[in-house]
C-alpha cells in the first residue's frame, strides 16, 4: 500500500484506524459481491428493510459498513469508469456512514434538563447530522447539466421539509452550510447548558423529516435520479442510551421513501427494540432484519477459515511485500508458515518431554504408583490387595517408546479406579488395547480415547515437565479467534513481534517457531484480559468470574480423572443463579470473555433447555486450557453463584475442593454424595467419560 511502511503487517487491528484506501485494499470476502453467500450481500445495503449488523468486538462490523459506504463506493466507481449517479444505480444504494460515538451522545443528558427535552434535542441533532451527510452525498451525485437543471428545485423541496425558518439557500453547498450553522448553534447550547441552566433550541424540523425527506426530495426532482436507496449506516449503536436507541428504533419503524437504516452494534449493545410509536416494539423479520457476523462465521468454520486465510494473504500483499506476492507467488500454503504443536503419539518429542527417562521414572508413572501405594493400606482398590500387585499393573501399562500412550494408560487406570473396577483386569485390557493400537494405528475405542483426551494428556505432560503449554498453527489460531477477525489479527501481530524479536523471518524464510507462536498467544491473551481492567467495577466482576471459571477448568484439565475432556464450556439453565450472577454472566458475554455456544442443550438430568457458554478461546493460553472444546459441564445453582457472584468467595472455595476431590485419587468424593451439594440440580455422580 503506497506510503505505508510497517514493521509488522498486522499492527493495524481496528477498522477505525484504517484509511479509506486501506479499508478498500484490505477488504476480503468469501464470495463475489453479487453472490448471496458474500459478506457484502449479507449486509443487504440495497434492501429497503432496515438491518441490524451485530457482532462482538472485532468481528468486522465497521470494516463491512465502511467498505459499503459512499466514499468507498466512489473509489470503486472510479475504478470501474462509472460516474457516481450511474454507479449508485448499479449498486442500488448509497451508504451514508456515521459513527454514533462521533455524535458524543453523552452530552445529551443531565445538566438540569428533563429526559424528554434531551430526547427532542438528540432527535433534532441526529436529523441535522444525517441530513448534512445525505446532502453531501447528493452534492457528489449531481454533476454537470443535471446539477444545473435540478439544484434550485431540489433546494426548494428541501426547504419545504422544515416546519419553520426554512433555509434560503439555492445550492446544495448552501444548504449544507445552513444545516451546519444550525448544528453549531445547537452544539453551543448543549455544551453550555450546564452553565447557563438553559436549553432553548430552535427545533425547525420534525423527527424523520430530513432523514427521509431529503432522499425523497432528491429523487422526486427527476426520474433520472431514482433507482437506488439512501442507506443510513449508523455504527456503534451501543454508545447510545436506551432512550436514544428508542429514538433510532422509531426511525427504523417509520422508515419511508427511498431511504433505509443499516445499524451496526455489539451483539449485546442493543438495549431495547421499543419505539416511541405507542410503545410498540420492533419485531425481527417484520420491522428489521438481523445479521450476526461472528455467529455467521462460527456456524460455518470452513467459510471462516477461508476468509481469514484471504485476510492474512491480503495483509501480507499490502504491508509485507518481502513475503513475495501472496500465496500464488510463494507457492506455499499459508498454514505452512506456522509450526504446528506436536500431536503424534509416536513423535520423539514426547520422549524428550519426559527427559528420555525409563518408564518407571516418568512423572505420570510415579504419580500412579504412589497413589496406589498410598491407598493400599486403607484398602478399597479392587484388584490391588498386596504390594506386588502394583508393579505388575505398572509393567502392564508401560509403553517405553511412546510416553504419550503410556500417559493415556495411566489415565485409563485412574478412570477404572474411580469407577471401582478391578485394576489388575483393567491393566491387562489396557495393555492389549494399547498394543493393538500400536500395531494398527487404526480406529477403535483406544484411538477414540486418545483423540478425545490428547490435549489434556499433553497439557499434563507439559506441566509435569514444568514447560509452558504450546499453542500454535494457523488452524488453532483461527479457532481461538472465535469468528472475530480482529482477534486473529491480534494473535498474528503478537506472534509476528515475538518471531522477529527472536531473530526469525516470518513469512520470508522458514516457519514461525512454536515458541514464538505460544508467546504470541499468551501476549494476546494478556492483552485481551488486561483490557478489561479499564471497565471499572463491572470489569472487576467479570475478571473475578472468569478467573474462577478458569480455575475450575484447570482443576479438571490437570485431574487424575477429568469429568470432561478439553473442558472450557458449561451449560446453565436460564432459571438458575441469583440476579447478580446472571447479570455478571451477561456482562462477561457482552465483553466477549464468554462466548455463547450455538443452540441450547438439554440438561443431562432433565428436559429443560439450557444456555451453553464457553470461555473465549483467546483467553485460554492464560491458564493453559484447551482450544478445542469438547466437554460441557452443566452448572448447578451453587456452582453458578459461586463463580459469577464476586461476594461468594467462600462458596467458591468449597466448589473447588469438591471438584478436586471428585476428580483426583482416591476418588472418595466421586462415589458418595456430598452434603453440601446434595441440593444441586446438576448431576453429582461421576460421569463415565471413558465408556466405549
Amino acid at each position: 500500500m503506497s506510503g505505508v511502511t510497517l514493521s509488522n503487517p498486522f499492527s493495524l487491528t481496528k477498522a477505525n484506524d484504517l484509511s479509506d484506501d486501506q479499508i478498500q485494499e484490505l477488504w476480503v470476502d468469501i464470495a463475489p459481491p453479487d453472490s448471496p453467500d458474500s459478506l457484502f450481500s449479507a449486509g443487504r445495503f440495497a434492501s429497503p428493510m432496515p438491518t441490524f449488523i451485530l457482532g462482538s468486538k472485532g468481528s468486522g462490523k465497521t470494516h463491512l459498513m465502511r467498505y459499503a459506504s459512499f466514499p468507498l463506493q466512489k473509489k470503486r466507481f472510479e475504478r470501474d469508469g462509472l460516474r457516481p449517479l450511474p454507479g449508485a444505480r448499479v449498486d442500488g444504494y448509497v451508504g451514508i456512514y456515521t459513527l454514533c460515538s462521533g455524535l458524543e451522545t453523552g452530552r445529551f443528558q443531565g445538566k438540569g434538563q428533563s429526559d424528554e427535552a434531551w430526547l427532542e434535542v438528540i432527535s433534532y441533532y441526529l436529523e441535522l447530522s444525517l441530513g448534512i451527510a445525505a446532502l453531501a452525498v447528493t452534492d457528489d451525485l449531481l454533476d454537470g447539466d443535471v446539477q444545473h437543471n435540478i439544484e434550485t428545485a431540489f433546494c426548494a423541496a428541501v426547504g419545504q421539509l422544515f416546519d419553520s425558518d426554512p433555509p434560503a439557500a439555492n445550492s446544495v453547498g448552501g444548504l449544507i452550510d445552513d444545516l451546519e450553522r444550525r448544528r453549531r448553534e445547537l452544539d453551543y447550547q448543549v455544551n453550555n447548558a450546564a452553565f447557563t441552566g438553559e436549553l432553548v433550541p430552535n427545533v425547525t424540523a420534525s423527527r424523520g423529516k430530513l432523514i427521509f425527506g431529503i432522499p425523497q426530495a432528491f429523487q422526486s426532482c427527476s426520474s433520472d435520479l431514482g433507482g437506488f436507496l439512501f442507506a443510513y449506516q449508523l455504527d456503534e449503536l451501543e454508545n447510545l442510551t436506551e432512550a436514544q436507541q428508542k429514538h433510532v428504533n422509531t426511525l427504523v419503524r417509520d422508515r419511508r421513501g427511498p431511504a433505509t437504516l443499516k445499524i451496526g452494534a455489539r451483539q449485546f449493545g442493543i438495549k431495547t427494540h421499543a419505539t416511541m410509536s405507542a410503545a410498540e416494539e420492533n419485531i425481527r423479520d417484520s420491522e428489521f432484519e438481523e445479521l450476526r457476523l461472528d455467529l455467521r462465521f462460527r456456524r460455518n468454520e470452513k467459510t471462516y477459515r477461508e476468509l481469514v486465510a484471504l485476510l492474512v494473504e491480503r495483509r501480507l500483499q499490502n504491508f509485507w511485500p518481502q513475503s513475495s506476492t501472496g500465496l500464488a507467488g510463494r507457492s506455499r500454503r499459508l498454514a505452512d508458515w506456522f509450526e504446528e504443536p506436536k500431536r503424534d503419539p509416536f513423535d520423539p518429542f514426547f520422549e524428550r518431554l519426559v527427559k528420555n527417562a525409563p518408564s518407571p521414572e516418568r512423572p505420570h508413572m510415579v504419580h500412579l504408583r504412589e497413589a496406589l501405594a498410598g491407598q493400599l493400606s486403607r484398602g478399597g482398590i479392587r484388584g490391588v490387595r498386596k504390594e506386588e500387585d502394583i508393579p505388575a499393573i505398572m509393567n502392564a501399562i508401560a509403553v517405553p517408546d511412546a510416553p504419550l500412550l503410556e500417559k493415556l494408560n495411566t489415565f485409563l487406570m485412574f478412570n477404572a479406579w474411580a469407577k471401582g473396577l478391578d485394576l489388575a483386569q483393567t491393566a491387562t485390557s489396557v495393555r492389549s488395547n494399547c498394543e493393538a493400537f500400536v500395531r494398527s494405528k487404526g480406529a477403535g475405542p483406544y484411538r477414540q480415547k486418545l483423540d478425545h483426551y490428547k490435549s489434556d494428556l499433553i497439557a499434563q505432560m507439559f506441566r509435569d515437565a514444568s514447560y509452558r503449554h504450546n499453542y500454535g498453527g494457523l488452524d488453532e489460531f483461527t479457532r481461538m479467534s472465535e469468528g472475530q477477525p480482529r482477534a486473529l489479527i491480534t494473535l498474528l501481530k503478537q506472534t509476528f513481534d515475538w518471531a522477529t524479536f527472536q531473530g526469525e523471518r516470518p513469512f520470508e524464510a522458514g516457519s514461525i517457531s512454536i515458541d514464538a507462536e505460544s508467546k504470541g498467544a499468551l501476549a494476546a491473551a494478556d492483552w485481551f484480559y488486561n483490557n478489561m481492567r479499564k471497565a471499572g467495577g463491572d470489569g472487576q466482576a467479570i475478571l473475578i468470574a472468569v478467573d474462577r471459571l478458569a480455575e475450575l477448568f484447570r482443576i479438571n484439565r490437570f485431574a487424575d480423572n477429568p469429568i470432561e475432556c478439553s473442558l472450557i464450556g458449561f451449560s446453565v439453565s436460564a432459571r438458575v443463579g441469583s440476579e447478580i450472577s446472571q447479570r455478571n454472566l451477561r456482562l462477561a458475554l457482552d465483553h466477549s470473555f464468554l462466548v455463547e455456544i450455538l443452540g441450547g442443550q438439554s440438561d443431562r438430568n432433565s428436559e429443560q433447555v439450557t444456555g451453553k457458554f464457553q470461555l473465549n478461546r483467546m483467553l485460554v493460553p492464560k491458564w493453559g486450557l484447551a482450544t478445542g472444546r469438547r466437554g460441557i459441564k452443566p452448572f448447578s445453582e451453587v456452582e453458578m453463584n459461586a463463580i459469577f457472584d464476586p461476594r461468594m468467595g467462600e462458596a467458591f472455595e468449597k466448589v473447588k475442593a469438591d471438584w478436586a476431590t471428585r476428580m483426583n485419587a482416591p476418588f472418595e468424593r466421586a462415589r458418595r454424595a456430598s452434603k453440601d451439594f446434595a441440593e444441586s440440580d446438576a448431576g453429582d455422580s461421576q460421569v463415565d467419560l471413558f465408556g466405549d
Binding site: 515437565a465 514444568s466 514447560y467 509452558r468 513481534d497 515475538w498 522477529t500 524479536f501 527472536q502 531473530g503 508467546k519 501476549a523
Partner: protein, 323 residues
C-alpha cells in the same frame, strides 16, 4: 542458555521485558539473537542464582537507554526548565518586586543574546552533537554557540596577555551528556573556566550535564570554577548497580543476587578494563545513549575488543581514539 524449568521461568520473564524494551525504548538495538550472542560470553550454572547468564540478563533488563527523541526532550528541558528560569531568577533579583512579567521576559531575552553555549571537549565528540540538537530543539540562533577554544582571542597570546574574544558576553553555558566522577569537568574548569574568570571576573559560567551522578555534581560544585552546576537528571547512589541501596536489588528475593552479580561483573571487568572493572572510576552505571554508551557504565555492556580478551558488547561504546 540453560533450559530447565527453574531457569526457563526466569528467562521467560526477563525475555518478555527485554522484548518490550527492544521494540520501544531501545530503538530495536538488541534483539534476542544479539542478546544470546552477548550472554554466550558468560558461564552457565545449574543453580539459577549462580548462573552468570541469568545474572547479567537481569542487569540488562534494567539497562536505561536514551534514544535520540529522549535526548532531544531532555535538551528542551535543559533550556526551558533549567537555564531560562535561572536567568529569569538572576534578572529578577536585580529588579524591584513590582516588575511585570513582560519586563522580566524581555530582559531575559536581552541576557540570552549575551549568552554563549559551549560544547565540552573536542568538536568531533558527543557534546558537539548535543549542541546541534540543543539548538534545533530550542530554536536558538547559530551565533549563540561556540567551541571552547573560541572563547579567547588567541591573537593576544603572543603579546603575553589572555583576552576574551567578545567582551559583551555575560554568560557561558557548558553542556555535556553525563557527569560521572566530575574529574573531567574539573579538569575543563581548570583549563578553560578559571582563565576565563580571571580575565573577566564578571561573567557567569554554568555547567549543565543532562545526567549527573550526585558525587560528581557535588565535586564540581565545591571544587570547580563553575558558578552554577545543575544536571537535568541527577543520579544518586541508588543508581549505581551494586551500591548497598541499589534500586536494582530492592525485592528481597532479588537482593540476594546483588553480591554474586557484582562478583561476576568484576571478574569480567578485570579482564576487559583492568583499571576500571565496573566502569570509569567505579561508575557502576547501566545507562546508554543513542550516540554512545558512557564508560561510566559497566564494561560488560559496552566493551568492544578483539585483543587477548575478545568481547562482543550489547550496547557498543565508540571509544575516543588517541594517536
Amino acid at each position: 542458555m540453560r533450559s530447565d524449568p527453574r531457569h526457563d521461568a526466569i528467562t521467560d520473564e526477563l525475555q518478555s521485558k527485554i522484548k518490550t524494551l527492544h521494540s520501544s525504548i531501545w530503538e530495536r538495538r538488541a534483539d534476542w539473537p544479539e542478546v544470546l550472542d552477548w550472554l554466550d560470553q558468560f558461564e552457565q550454572h545449574d543453580d539459577p542464582d549462580s548462573d552468570e547468564q541469568l545474572q547479567v540478563l537481569r542487569l540488562l533488563s534494567n539497562f536505561m537507554y536514551f534514544g535520540v527523541n529522549e535526548i532531544r526532550a531532555l535538551l528542551r528541558s535543559l533550556f526551558r526548565d533549567t537555564f531560562r528560569p535561572q536567568v529569569a531568577k538572576e534578572v529578577r533579583s536585580g529588579l524591584h518586586s513590582s516588575t511585570t512579567l513582560d519586563m522580566v521576559g524581555s530582559m531575559v531575552d536581552v541576557e540570552l543574546r549575551r549568552t554563549r553555549f559551549v560544547s565540552l571537549g573536542n568538536p568531533s565528540e558527543s557534546s558537539a552533537l548535543l549542541l546541534y540538537y540543543f539548538r534545533q530543539e530550542n530554536a536558538l540562533p547559530k551565533d549563540l554557540f561556540l567551541h571552547g577554544s573560541d572563547i579567547f582571542d588567541l591573537s593576544a597570546v603572543e603579546s603575553g596577555g589572555l583576552k576574551v574574544r567578545d567582551t559583551h558576553i555575560t554568560r557561558y553555558v557548558f553542556i555535556d551528556d553525563l557527569c560521572g566522577s566530575g574529574h573531567q569537568g574539573r579538569e575543563y574548569s581548570d583549563r578553560i573556566v578559571k582563565p576565563l574568570k580571571s580575565t573577566s571576573p564578571g561573567v557567569k559560567t554554568y555547567y549543565y550535564p543532562i545526567f549527573g551522578l550526585s558525587d560528581g555534581i557535588d565535586l564540581l560544585r565545591t571544587q570547580s570554577a563553575f558558578d552554577e552546576v545543575y544536571p537535568v537528571v541527577e543520579l544518586d547512589q541508588t543508581f549505581r548497580a551494586f551500591a548497598t541501596d541499589s534500586r536494582l536489588y530492592i525485592e528481597p528475593k532479588i537482593a540476594l543476587l546483588r553480591l554474586a552479580t557484582e562478583a561476576t561483573c568484576r571478574r569480567y571487568g578485570d579482564e576487559l578494563v583492568p583499571a576500571h572493572p565496573l566502569g570509569w572510576e567505579d561508575g557502576q552505571l547501566y545507562i546508554g545513549f543513542a550516540h554512545n554508551t558512557p564508560d561510566n557504565s559497566l564494561p560488560i555492556f559496552w566493551c568492544d575488543q578483539t585483543g587477548p580478551r575478545p568481547w562482543r558488547p550489547i550496547f557498543r561504546r565508540y571509544p575516543k581514539v588517541f594517536w
